[in-house]
Amino acid sequence: MVLHGEIGSAPKPPGTDGIWTFVFIDMIVFSLFFIVYLSERLRLPDVFAASQSRLDPNFGLVNTLVLLTSSLFMAEAVAAARTGNAVRVRTRLALALGCGAMFGVSKITEYSEKFAAGITPVTNSFYSFYFLLTMIHFLHVLVGMMFIAHCLSRARIEAGQPGFLPKLENTGLFWHFVDLLWLFLFPLLYLAGLK
């Protein structure tokens, strides 16, 4: 498979070195959150089991499918940029952004249900982690959406110019990382509590 439109040479690494570093630091930070979560779960297994069983796994499933789909659109936008198809870049970025918005609506609905039921981040240790982990992840989604919106607004003018592709690849790498994190948050918070 030829990537980046290069023929007869090794493909250039996608994105800049800085984005790979930034994302990996973020991975390490989330690893620490996960380890502290597991240690608290060991201390309070009954609290975690009872609280997890009150989460609606359908929200987790829908959010996973939405993020996976947004990742597909983002990857297609990057592939289109490499072939100089500016129209496809814009449509794919708009679709990825739409999926991000759907994730946001789903998350806010889920939080609203919890608050309406009297569940807050200080209800117990599990819900502290649930809100902390998902809200930090949601913050990543919002930041990613800002980057996508920026690329979308600049695509008409900058697509095909030398600086646009690395910017789009960086945005894509960050967006896929947001997806990757959710792939582990979904089973950890939602599926592990099913009976």
Binding site: L42, L65, T69, S71, L183, F184
Partner: protein, 85 residues
Amino acid sequence: MRPADRELSIAWLGLVALTVLSFAAAEGLIAHRFALAAIFAVAAFKGQIVASRFMEVGHALPHWRTLYRIWIFAIAIVLAGGHFV
């Protein structure tokens, strides 16, 4: 459809199928001790698909390629192991 787009679509279909399967397995089999381990193993596999097909980790610099792939497996092992202690 261009080959690159076809590969992305196939990867996405695989990810969706694995997600639905692991959800169904969790709903029906989570009482089984090893079902949870299988669900985290599927998450790791999905993570590798996202890393290789969407993030193109295979084309990253060698140290990032190694670190990202190791992180995905390591975090899955930690998360699964944490439920067995």
